[in-house]
């Protein structure tokens, strides 16, 4: 899997590259519009991460040029701008996803996986880990070949873990993604613990091969037993 990162901030570029390489992606980088355009026209990538603010041009312009090349690649915009208008404009131009800085690396990785899955399997995408299969669109979970029931919140949490198996998920990251801004200022994460406890019970009762383990009291990890 080949990924091109078009990002002018070298430090940020380096982080993204290292993080993606750890996931066994082949990564190439372009620090500006010109290099980005050359690489896009000369090679084919599975996924492109595009920053909008480039020193010698606008990323959206680059996106337009890229769309005219009619290449089969996924493209994710990573931008410091996070207004709805910017997102809509980027997605309208044909980007597959829009991620506003700052984001969690785990978030980026699951978005990359998600857009690539969508490209491969069309609409009906699903995530499998161990003997558990999850359909994000249909909000359905299957263990082996049995459909199981769980609450909306539990589904969201399970989805979050399934998108980033074996990775450390801190309580604040989880809270931020499931409860949004609502947990801002909360000094106690009991509500997360309660939800995780329920989810663990369910996974055991379904006979799932995966489990959520605690990591030193600061977060959780989804692992396959």
């Amino acid at each position: 899997m080949k990924i091109l990162i078009i990002e002018d901030d070298l430090s940020f570029q380096e982080i993204l590259r290292r993080s993606l390489e750890q996931e066994r992606y082949v990564v190439e980088v372009a620090p500006n519009y010109r290099t980005g355009l050359i690489k896009l026209s000369d090679y084919t990538y599975d996924c492109i991460l595009l920053d909008i603010n480039l020193p010698d041009g606008n990323g959206l312009e680059l996106l337009r040029e890229f769309k005219e090349m009619k290449k089969e690649s996924s493209l994710i915009i990573i931008s410091a701008r996070d207004s709805i208008e910017d997102k809509v404009e980027g997605l309208d131009l044909g980007a597959d996803d829009y991620l506003a800085k700052p984001f969690h690396l785990a978030e980026l990785l699951s978005r990359i996986k998600s857009v690539m899955r969508r490209r491969q399997s069309g609409i009906d995408e699903h995530i499998t880990y161990g003997n558990v299969k999850l359909h994000p669109q249909r909000t359905e979970v299957w263990v082996d070949d049995t459909k199981v029931e769980l609450s909306r919140k539990e589904f969201d949490i399970l989805l979050y873990f399934m998108q980033r198996p074996t990775r450390l998920v801190s309580k604040s990251m989880l809270a931020e993604s499931i409860w949004g801004d609502h947990f801002d200022g909360v000094d106690n994460y009991d509500f997360i613990y309660a939800q995780i406890k329920n989810l663990r019970k369910r996974l055991t009762s379904w006979g799932a091969s995966i489990e959520i383990t605690g990591v030193y009291g600061m977060g959780y990890k989804l692992i396959d037993k």
Partner: protein, 423 residues
Amino acid sequence: MKLTTHAIRSLIAPLILIFAMWGTAFYIFLSDELIDEIDDQLELFSEQIIRQWLAGEVLPESNNASNNTYYIRPVSAEEEAVSKGIEYEFKNIYIPEHLEEEPARVMHTLFHREDGTCWQLTVMIPIYERNEVISTILTFTSILLIAMLLVVMAVFAWVFKRHTRPLYRVLHHLDNYTIGHKQLIEEDTTVTEFQHLCTTVNAYIERIEEAYEHERRFIGDASHELQTPLAICQNRIEMMMEDDTLTESQLTELGKMQQTMSELIRLNKTLLFLSKIENSQFVETTEVSINALLHRQTDILAEVYESKGISLNIYDKAPWSIQANEELMSSLVSNLLRNAYLHNHPQGTIDIYIREGALSIANTSTEEAIDPDRLFDRFYKGNHTRHQSSGLGLSIVKAICDASSLRITYTFAQDKHIFTISR
């Protein structure tokens, strides 16, 4: 005191003084003139009598309906020596027709007969008519001067008001001026001073607006520029945490760092959001149901704050929908609710009332009433630093209300902090 009143007041004293002096001078001049006139008459009269008396002709009757009287008496040589010849004086004389004494002008003239004897003629003209004339003149003059004084005042006030109109226009403009809504004064005056005032005020408005705009942009730009470094920092910590060889203490330390980073990122996002609201970047409006929004948000918050054991009562008195930006309304309600949960004590209560055009959220708290003047200030946290509140929640609420033409009021009653949003 108004400028017009002030000017009129300081005009009144000198005007009264001038008019009084003027009136007095006029009175003195006029009465002197009248006396002169009478003296001339007396002189003519006595000349005629002396001439007739010396010639031995028949003298006019002492009283020929004019009340003029006279008598002639001999004068001794000693008396003649001290007399000035002709003397005038005022004296009350008895007028037989009036049966009483009346003021009169008296003239004494010394003259010699051919035989060398000295005689004195005393001629008297009653002057009560003249006194009447003078008092009439005095009355009319006073009335005239007072009327003149009033007219002068009125004219002055009118002229003054007319000419200071540009000044009041400038003041009115400044009263209505709010920072951030640039509006310059139109210069429709030909008075140099007022033109100068308008130009100067406009120049200051321009300068203030520029500084304000600059500050506004600065916060937005600074927060925006911070996004990438913050992202790098956060992601580096995350990368480090992926390392399986880390010990528990190292990982815990990194976890704390990450949490602080998250707070920093949230704070920066909030500032950016605030700056966007103030730059009116949320223009799209839809019909937003406050009731629905509120129920949705309380469901989530009740879950997050379950451990606090707070009892929540929502009283939907009436549905309330407003035409507004959905993102802003959502943030408004969310910030108010979060505020009510965050500053509440365990087992406290939150009462929410929704009426047509108004939403009230009342919560119990261990905190006393808050200073309403500082409540909406950025980073104002009152007397406590106990929770991780950013101190920006209510600033956002205020900014959203201002941007959406809503009114927010805070009251403290029956140990409850009550925030009310109304149209």
